[in-house]
Amino acid sequence: MKNINSNIRIYKLHPSKTNNSGKYYSFVKILEKNSEKKKKEKRMGKKMLSLEEQCKIVNLLKSSSEQKSIEETVTEFFSDSNLRHFNVCYSLSFLLQDKMMLSSTERLVAFAILHRCYSSQKSAANPFISFLLNAACDDGAENYERAFILHLLGSGNSNDSKEFLKQSASDYIKNFDPSSQTFPQGEQLQQQYFEKVDPEPYTCLLKNTVVKNVLADPDVPRGCDANSAEHVSWLDLQPVAKSKLGSGDRDEALTGLMENLSLEGLIPHWIRPVPPRFPVDNELVWLNPDNNHELQWDQGMCADTSRGAAVRDLIAKALKGALEPNQQEQVLGELVKDPKLVYHCGLTPRKLPELVENNPLIAVDVLTKLINSPEIAEYFTVLVNMDMSLHSMEVVNRLTTAVELPKEFVRMYITNCISSCENIKDKYMQNRLVRLVCVFLQSLIRNKIIDVKDLFIEVQAFCIEFSRIREAAGLFRLLKTLE
């Protein structure tokens, strides 16, 4: 019952194999021819035979039994160019496997067709050769059938040896003499007809292990044997058996099979899991409103910032002489209006002394506004080093109350004041300056801008040196009270 189809050598054409050998040419051609009919086939699904082919074959087989010789039937078959011979042969081989489907005479005709189909080539090139050989060696088969196949295989191409085909199939069976035939072993036949075959062409194992996809499912009442003796006598009783319960119609089954045959048999199946859809994680796009960007022309290109221009003019004037009160107010007002203006009002540290001397109030205002600038230190350095004057001292004094000055700066400024007083030659000017410095220092001390301790010795020495001046004595007394 191990009824595997693999004994039918169906060449699965693989791209790399097609040009291998001309031997398969005719077979390839058949397939090509088939592909021409592909469209038609598509409409019918993947069925082996068209309706037309089914009718022809069934009629051909039926008509073959008594009247016509086997040769006649076979010739008739091959003269019909509308038949796709491979498909038909494959269907026949399929039907032959089921010993009940075809009558004994029909079987002989079918075998003859299978053999003739590729008789123009070496027997080994016949795709059905192993099927034929197996049938010839099948101990369960009728002897006349086995002998018939051996005849076919031995006949080759010569016309003389085809004599036995000139009789009808039923005559062949009637005239068969079992004693006249010996049955060689399978291996022997294999060697004879099969050996010279090229190595097996590529076939897929998975598909090569095909099992026949037709199962008998006899629907007969319990107790009836589906394979009862009825079968043997079927040839003789032909039309009668029809009405019998559970018997069914052989023709119907035959045409049904023909109609549904397909190349594929059953194969073990592989489960090919579909890969899961990739998880959606951060893939969805979350939207946030855009920030609003506008492209803007930069008016500052190559141009003075005009707003500062007036102020810059006034500052330039302020370096040269005292401004009118209204001009001074304008500068101070503009500086308040635009806090950034101070950075481009045209003042540099180098120009500071001029501003201090000519317009100390503006200098105070500018320096106050620049106090957080990194350049303020530079301004301070300039301020410390400039010549002592009423105006510079006034500026520093006002600054001390307006902003917090670095201690180091204040100290250095005081030291400078003192040494300026000491170095001055003109007595009148010296007196004047000393008085100024004293007032300045008193103011610093009273306002707690400086810690007296830091400068005590220096200031004390100054007071003693200039004790002749009243303000110096006053400062000295102030120092003593703080001691």
């Binding site: 996809n213 069914g248 089954a253 109609e259 073990p268 969805l284 979350w286 960007h293 022309w297 930069d298």
Partner: protein, 762 residues
């Protein structure tokens, strides 16, 4: 004019080099004035002409290339924003507003390191953007003063007193020697750089001024210190959300809310909603979203609807999300009717993003053709992302499986076993035909299946197209890996080491929750990520350090995401090649899949199954058996190829919340029924059944029929609905000669359809 002349001559700088410029200055300023007039009257061609004359005379002035860039941009009808950005990028000194623009661009491009550069620059140049240090404005002001004080002051306008520094302008490198100005008492107001100085200097061309823009936040000079602080804080949150540093983002968004108190807090609320969405707190996200915005503006309500769509998608409510996405789209189309695309509003068009979201939603709802149309539209902006092509391939596979493609069969049809009942009575035969043998996919490939758009511009979904898309994605992924590998050599070396040492833990790398990172990633980011995946908080509040950590954390996330995508791509590719009957190509794809470091257990399972099938098709059943038998224990027993936890990733509801490790997680673990549909992959037991069935097939091919019988019976007990397993079982029965058993299996399988044979012949 007079005053300018007098000022330039009467303000000699201390180097005494002034005055030389006087002649040039007057010519240039005249040209500049002309250019400005042309610009204002919308004559951009003339404007550019004059600017080009000006350029050689003022080579050091960044304002000239700036103005050229915008004049050319307007002249060309705003057609090339990319070029504009490139030019602005090259303007050496960078104004605050351009910084913000660049930040927006970088964030939109998901370019974390560029965003970080700009953030760092802002901090350095303007002394702002510190991570929440004190809520009081003075303190920040104080700090920023100190910070800026360290940097050199760069002259900005032509009138800056100290001309010696004007040489500096040329040498100023945007990032190393940042532009900053001396500070007054209002340091935050001082941040207008060279380009902005001078009050009303900035002006838009008359025709371009748009009054109907989105509610304007602030215009230029009117940015107050606090507003700017809020703005930058929000940028920081967006950066942290981009890099998925959720813990820090949470802290920073809180800080932003504090700053925004008493002001417009809608953006802060929106970001907070996004944060909660990212953390999986979907209900909270909805609440915040509701509170965040007035939805009278079409653009805002469109985004609002889109974001709600995202949330409902993540909740597994695809149909609700579909409603919101389509609302969002119609909001936008109404917007477009009122206001045609113009100038900078091109960036306001978010419809392609929404369309991409729609695509994902259609895919989740099992509508591959609609999904593919969406992805095709969105490909305008997403074409460089591997994931887009993966989604396309998924559309193809889904369409093929649903039988929506010419020549393909629905999977339901394929799994059907048809039995033709032929003849009657004792002649009755059953002819078995299964869907898998029936399918004729390969034959149906036609030439135009190979291109994305067919004649009608619609993608023609097919297996060959899927293959093409998968190759696209792999190519993109590999090229981006290659460029990454150049920049992160160090991390890669530690990655390699790790690969050798912990093969076992790599199996867990597909764990869903991003914060729970496997050992590998923690070494990648140089130990900055602790076991919970949170960035260690630097004590000193060093802003740059936080940004750097976020970047390496983000790069690490991206790397792992790309790895995941690669696994999916190779698995899909192997599958597609098998479907197209190319076992050799399938074999190589599946083998590459198995060679990926840190491959998830599900993909390892798929890899082995695909390799084994390809080997079988190549007549190497022994090797195929080897691949499957790694799951064998004790000879005849198959282990679970992966666990339930490996499937978590595919669940819709994510496990949350970081705050309540004991509480909230359990509730989130029960996805809604709709959500469960989404998980279409095999569960672990089914996967085990698959292995049993396939082992049975291998044994059957090898002729070990008894063993095949044992395995296929096991398979049927685990996957009773598998038509493949049923067919294998029937096959084994038939080969063993047990036709009665085969018959009874046929009759009991619910995949079998019995067809009466039609009697056409008479």
């Amino acid at each position: 004019m007079d005053s300018r002349d007098s000022s330039s001559s009467s303000a000699p700088n201390r180097d005494g080099t002034a005055g030389d410029d006087d002649g040039v200055l007057s010519v240039t300023s005249a040209l500049a004035k002309d250019a400005a007039l042309h610009f204002q009257s919308g004559k951009f061609v003339e404007c550019v002409d004059i600017l080009n004359q000006l350029k050689p005379k003022k080579e050091d002035d960044p304002k000239v290339p700036h103005n050229i860039a915008i004049a050319e941009f307007f002249r060309d009808g705003c057609s090339d924003p990319k070029k504009l950005l490139e030019v602005l990028n090259n303007v050496k000194t960078t104004a605050l507003h351009i910084c913000l623009l660049m930040l927006d661009v970088a964030l939109a491009c998901h370019d974390a390191s560029k965003s970080a550069d700009v953030l760092n620059y802002l901090e350095k140049a303007f002394g702002i953007g510190n991570v929440s240090q004190g809520d009081n404005g003075n303190m920040v002001a104080q700090q920023s003063m100190n910070l800026v004080g360290k940097f050199s002051s760069v002259p900005s306008s032509t009138s800056v007193s100290d001309a010696s520094t004007s040489d500096l302008v040329a040498s100023v490198n945007a990032f190393e020697n940042p532009l900053s100005r001396t500070l007054s008492e209002e340091p935050l107001d001082e941040m207008f750089s060279a380009l902005d100085i001078g009050g009303q200097n900035l002006s838009r061309p008359a025709g371009l001024a748009s009054s109907n823009d989105l509610p304007r936040t602030t215009v230029d000079r009117s940015i107050s210190g606090v507003d700017l602080k809020l703005k930058l804080q929000l940028y920081k949150v967006r950066f942290l959300l981009l890099t998925r540093n959720l813990k820090l983002a949470k802290r920073e968004v809180k800080h932003a809310m504090n700053i925004a108190r008493g002001r417009d807090s809608s953006m802060a609320l929106l970001l907070k909603a996004q944060l909660e969405y990212a953390r999986g707190n979907h209900r909270k996200a909805i609440k915040l979203l509701m509170a965040s915005s007035n939805r009278t503006d079409a653009a805002i309500s469109s985004m609002f609807n889109n974001n709600l769509g995202c949330i409902y998608y993540q909740l597994g409510k695809y149909h609700t999300s579909a409603v919101f996405f389509s609302k969002a789209l119609s909001n936008f189309s109404s917007l477009q009717k009122e206001r045609p695309l113009k100038l900078l509003t091109f960036s306001q068009d978010k419809s392609l993003f929404i369309i991409y979201n729609c695509g994902l939603q259609y895919l989740a709802c099992g509508k591959p053709i609609l999904a593919a149309r969406c992805f095709q539209k969105a490909s305008l902006i997403f074409y460089k992302r591997p994931i887009l092509w993966l989604r396309f391939a998924e559309c193809c596979l889904m369409a093929v499986r649903k039988g929506l493609v010419k020549g393909s069969q629905a999977s339901s049809e394929r799994s059907e076993i048809r039995v033709s009942v032929i003849g009657k009575g004792r002649w009755r035969k059953l002819l078995i035909e299964d869907g898998i043998s029936r399918n004729g996919l390969v034959g149906s490939v036609e030439k135009d299946d190979w291109v994305l758009g067919g004649g009608d511009g619609q993608p023609k979904l097919s297996l060959p197209l899927a293959r093409q898309c998968l190759y696209n994605a792999l190519h993109l992924l590999n090229s981006c890996e290659w460029s990454n590998s150049k920049s992160v050599l160090l991390s890669n070396s530690s990655f390699e080491e790790n690969k050798l040492s912990d093969g076992a833990s790599s199996n867990n790398s597909n764990n869903k929750n991003l914060p729970s990172i496997d050992a590998k990633s923690s070494t990648l980011s140089g130990g900055l990520v602790n076991l919970n995946g949170d960035l260690k908080e630097p004590k000193g509040g060093a802003n740059q350090e936080i940004i750097q950590n976020s970047i390496s954390y983000y790069e690490d996330i991206c790397r792992r995401e790309n790895q995941m995508i690669k696994q999916a791509l190779l698995a899909n590719l192997a599958y597609v090649e098998l479907e197209l009957e190319n076992p050799l190509k399938a074999l190589s794809a599946a083998r590459s899949l198995l060679e990926l470091p840190g491959c998830s257990r599900i993909y390892i399972f798929l890899g082995h199954v695909y390799v084994a099938e390809a080997l079988c098709l190549l007549n190497k059943p022994n090797e195929a058996a080897d691949h499957l038998s790694i799951y064998l224990s004790g000879g005849n027993n198959v282990e679970l190829p992966f666990g339930q936890q490996d499937c978590e990733q595919w669940r819709v509801e994510k496990l949350v919340d970081c705050e309540e490790p004991n509480g909230g997680a359990a509730a989130a673990k029960n996805p809604s029924p709709e959500a469960l549909q989404d998980f279409v992959f095999l569960n672990p037991e089914e996967a085990r059944g698959t292995l049993y069935a396939n082992l049975a097939t291998v044994f059957a091919i090898q002729g070990e029929l008894e063993r095949a019988h044992h395995f296929v019976m096991q398979a049927l007990s685990l996957v009773p609905n598998s038509s493949e397993a049923t067919m294998t079982a029937i096959y084994v029965d038939l080969v063993l000669g047990k036709s009665q058993e085969a018959l009874s299996k046929l009759k009991h399988s619910n995949h079998v359809r019995f067809l009466p044979s039609s009697l056409q012949l008479n």
